[in-house]
């Protein structure tokens, strides 16, 4: 039997019972479209999370104070609350870690901030001129803190757009105005550009002041809360992380790395951790969708078994006029695969439409990957073969005379 004849026979058999073929296909359509949509949504979520992590800066290593633990004692102060990193540590990193492109120590705290009778509670960050470059912040109006401000302990502030809106209202010219933090007046010299909500607290709701000013007037000591180190490229990140750890252990006179009183966070690790979380979710969603695919496959098998029973006499006749076992086998297998393939095609289109709709409605930026489409087609063809194999074999194994006598 030629391939073109096989196609024609398949078309005739399937179109002879359109309603049943359609309902059988429906199971596969639902399965495939939900797999496509779920993977697209999962990929979209992963992309969104990665973007928000990247928005805090690129190739970033964060050094944060940890809990200091003495040997034998297992009393631990709250993580991050410890004051183990000093300005001197930051200076040492700037000096010794030559691979680092930029280093930006910061000291942050939450303060009540007032301006012209309005007030808000927000994060006040004392930092250095390198901060915007390291943490991916852009200036909208005015300037960021300069070296002169640092050296001169200037009482100047750069506001995030949310902090500006809270204190002055939207669209108000804030540069040149004055805010008060702990009774100290700061002159506003710049506004940063809106970044949108990041994964680690909004960087829009912040007030930046020179680190020297913050240490002297707000904190009253020279500890820092975070040192952001930017690597030249992603390859050198691990090496820089190692060097920083070595340098700080040495400076803090700690010989056992297990007892380190600080933590270094590699941005790549954060991305990897977040990715693995979304990956797990994607797999979970796809697995649920996969179950409906299996149910759809059983629907195909059910229909094919019914078809084989109904067409027993036809099979007997085909054998009586010279059809070989393989030809019968192949014919029924082709019917099953044609059903699933058609279902797969419609399912891909439907799944794509669903993810397009999700993106369009602004719920999530989805991404239909070529991989998931290929996977869907592969799976639907495989389902056709697996669930069509048994009915087809049963049909082909029929003895012609028994099949012809079948009532």
């Amino acid at each position: 039997m030629k391939t073109s004849d096989m196609m024609q026979e398949t078309y005739m058999a399937l179109s002879a019972n359109k309603a049943r073929s359609f309902l059988t296909i429906l199971g596969i359509v639902i399965g495939i479209s939900s797999v496509i949509a779920m993977i697209a949504i999962g990929e979209g979520a992963k992309g969104t999370i990665q973007n928000s992590i990247q928005s805090i800066g690129s190739n970033l290593i964060l050094v944060m104070p940890g809990a200091q633990r003495g040997p034998g004692f297992q009393v631990s102060a709250g993580r991050g609350s410890a004051r183990t990193l000093t300005q001197a540590d930051a200076d040492a990193i700037i000096k010794e870690i030559t691979l680092a492109q930029a280093v930006a120590p910061e000291i942050s705290g939450r303060y009540q901030v007032t301006a012209k009778g309005k007030n808000t509670n927000t994060s006040v960050v004392g930092t250095v001129p390198a901060y915007p470059a390291v943490r991916n912040i852009q200036i909208d109006q005015g300037d960021f803190i300069s070296e002169q401000h640092l050296r001169g302990l200037s009482k100047v502030a750069v506001l995030g757009p949310t902090a500006r809106d809270d204190l002055f209202g939207e669209g108000v010219q804030a540069v040149g105005q004055v805010i008060r933090v702990r009774g100290i007046e700061f002159k506003i010299i710049g506004i940063t550009r809106t970044k949108g909500g990041g994964g680690f607290g909004s960087q829009d709701d912040m007030i930046f002041i020179p680190i020297s000013t913050a240490q002297k007037f707000l904190a009253g000591d020279s500890y820092v809360t975070t040192i952001s180190v930017q690597a030249k490229d992603s390859q050198s990140m691990a090496e820089i992380q190692q060097e920083i750890t070595g340098l700080l252990l040495n400076r803090h006179n700690i010989s056992d790395p297990q007892l380190a009183d600080f933590n270094t966070l590699n941005q790549a690790d954060i991305v990897a951790a977040a990715s693995s979380v979304t990956q797990t979710f994607t797999i979970l969603l796809a697995a649920v969708a996969g179950i409906s695919l299996v149910v759809g496959g059983i629907g195909i098998m059910n229909m094919m078994l019914t078809t084989v029973t109904e067409r027993t006499r036809e099979i007997g006749l085909r054998k009586a006029i010279g059809a070989k076992r393989n030809e019968i086998n192949f014919q029924f297998l082709t019917e099953a695969v044609a059903l699933t393939f058609l279902g797969g095609l419609i399912g891909v289109i439907l799944g794509w439409l669903i993810s397009f709709g999700v993106t369009r409605l602004g719920i999530l930026q989805t991404k239909v990957s070529l991989f998931s489409i290929l996977l869907a087609f592969g799976v639907s063809a495989a389902i056709g073969i697996i669930f069509g194999y048994y009915p087809a074999r049963r049909a082909a194994a029929l003895n012609p005379i028994d099949a012809l006598r079948y009532e």
Partner: protein, 229 residues
């Protein structure tokens, strides 16, 4: 052409009992013969026909087709034999209800992998030889009369140019007049194209059209005689 030797066919019924449909039948049929196998219903003639058509195997004994034992054929060789050498006209016609007349007749050619153009020519020729008007070619079997359906079934048996045509009660469902026309068609095929024809019937008048009548009763051969010289 073909020879059956001591053919026995035993059926095992659902409750384990045995029923012998054929109890050791032997005969030979030569090329170009027109043979009628006659017997009352239940005499085993249909079973014999299925064995001759390579659709069923004898329980014991042997069936030789062109001096080759059919029992030695593989499944694919049996399919080839049915496809190329034998044309079978079933009592129940067994046409595909959803296919047109011409498609039904072309079906054996599909399995023989004949070119599409040639298929249509050969199917048209076979249908004409079986005596069906061309205006019916695109009809479905359920739109035809019993006689017309019978002709389609005969045309399908002819389309592969088989050397042996087997017909199971070809006039059983027809009135006398149509039956006669069908039988004349067989006679013509036998005399003009030299094909070997074996038909089954339980009616003596039908058997008289053949050159030789083999009578069977209760699974045994009771008479084998030429009707005319």
């Amino acid at each position: 052409m073909l020879e059956v030797k001591n053919v026995v066919k035993t059926y095992i019924s659902g409750d384990g009992g045995q029923f012998q449909a054929l109890k050791g039948v032997s005969f030979k049929i030569e090329d170009g013969e027109f043979v009628a196998i006659m017997g009352p219903s239940g005499s085993g003639k249909s079973t014999l026909m299925h064995i001759l058509g390579a659709l069923d195997n004898p329980t014991s004994g042997a069936y030789f087709f062109n001096d080759k034992n059919v029992a030695d054929f593989s499944e694919d060789e049996l399919a080839d034999l049915r496809k190329n050498k034998i044309g079978f006209v079933f009592q129940q016609f067994n046409l595909l209800p959803r296919a047109t007349v011409i498609r039904n007749v072309m079906l054996p050619l599909v399995y023989a992998e004949v070119e599409e153009k040639e298929r249509e020519e050969r199917a048209t020729l076979a249908l004409k030889a079986a005596g069906l008007e061309e205006s019916r070619f695109e009809h479905r079997p359920n739109q035809l009369s019993g006689g017309q359906v019978q002709r389609v079934a005969i045309a399908r048996a002819l389309v592969n140019n088989p050397v042996l045509i087997l017909a199971d009660e070809p006039t059983g469902n027809l009135d006398t007049k149509t039956g006669k026309i069908v039988l004349e068609t067989f006679q013509k095929l036998n005399q003009e194209q030299g094909r070997t024809i074996v038909l089954i019937t339980h009616e003596r008048e039908v058997a008289q059209h053949a050159g030789r009548v083999i009578s069977i009763r209760d699974g045994e051969l009771v008479n084998d005689a030429k009707t005319r010289v």
